[in-house]
Symmetry: C2
Subunit: 196 residues, 2 copies
């Protein structure tokens, strides 16, 4: 039987994890980003569609390409972060289904149905983005997710000629706890949930 | 410094976790669902918007209300699961922002902007659904997430008169490993990710 994780793991993933705006001057090896992906990719998606795609922006040159598309309040912290993940999704995700969901012709469910493609990519690409945030925390890193950027601008700069579309951004590194503000409140079970 | 989680925790959350269609005849206490919510709710959302809402469908009567709206392939397994979560989001999520994001008037960013409301609710409600899947696994439970249902029908049956909208479903219990199929392949880092 499966048992609950121990308290330090729950703290690291959820209870004491925070959204960081500033990171320590400590290197983030590419190997750790790969390890986080190899965890996150195991999370469930509808019909194993796996629409998420990720660009890890690391070089100063690539950061400079990202900067003009950031909301002003997100620019400096993103330029300073050891890495910034563009969490995207691929509207052509169905092309891999003959390999990733081989027992039925799942590709046929999507081809020509642009509304279903867009909804499936957005929902499941977002799920995978959340799996990646928790996987990054699981390998010991900290995250600063952001929606404040011009997605069309990022698409034009990074995804021209493809059907990848930017969804949200995540700054990645080892968080600087001295720069944190007090935590904002969360909705309790009785406010956000019902049992029927 | 934060360190990586140990291998058994990574296995439980990601590497050995599976999507279950059949569950053991073992009770799932409401307290465990509450514990999972209390973990999941700590995950990050844009401007702490927290749009996700969850209905845990447990009683035979409530299951019967859900059944007509399920895709045929999802009906029997959902009726048999110890609990089924309707992962929804509230289009009125901005109403709580004066309390949950008090340092600026974030509510004003959303009021009257229906496109931004819909996109924010869908993206962040999906992130929170993923946090809940991993939180349920973290407390020792197993999940069977599903998109195969009539969302408009579920909205009419469960959310009439509110602005809650169904996003996806998750069957919950202790998974029956004897009913699993071989795992389908996932996309590797070099296929789904880039470092620039």
């Amino acid at each position: 039987m499966t048992t609950p994780l121990e308290i330090p793991a729950l703290n690291q993933l959820f209870l004491e994890a925070r959204t960081y705006g500033r990171f320590l001057d400590r290197p983030v090896p590419d190997a750790l980003l790969r390890q986080a992906w190899d965890l996150a990719r195991m999370g469930p998606t509808a019909a194993n569609t796996q629409p998420a795609r990720v660009v890890f922006v690391r070089s100063a040159e690539a950061k400079a390409r990202l900067k003009p598309h950031l909301a002003p309040g997100n620019a400096d912290k993103t330029m300073a972060a050891p890495a910034t993940a563009i969490i995207a999704y691929d509207l052509d995700f169905a092309d891999t289904l003959p390999r990733t969901f081989p027992h039925v012709d799942a590709r046929a469910w999507y081809v020509g149905n642009d509304a279903l493609i867009a909804e499936t990519a957005f929902r499941n690409g977002s799920l995978q983005g959340a799996y990646l945030i928790l996987a990054l925390r699981a390998v010991g890193l900290d995250c600063g997710p952001m929606s404040g950027f011009d997605a069309a601008g990022v698409d034009a700069e990074f995804f021209a000629g493809s059907r990848w579309r930017a969804n949200f951004l995540v700054n990645i590194g080892y968080g600087d706890k001295t720069a944190l503000h007090p935590r904002n409140p969360r909705l309790g079970f009785d406010e956000a949930c019902r049992v029927v």
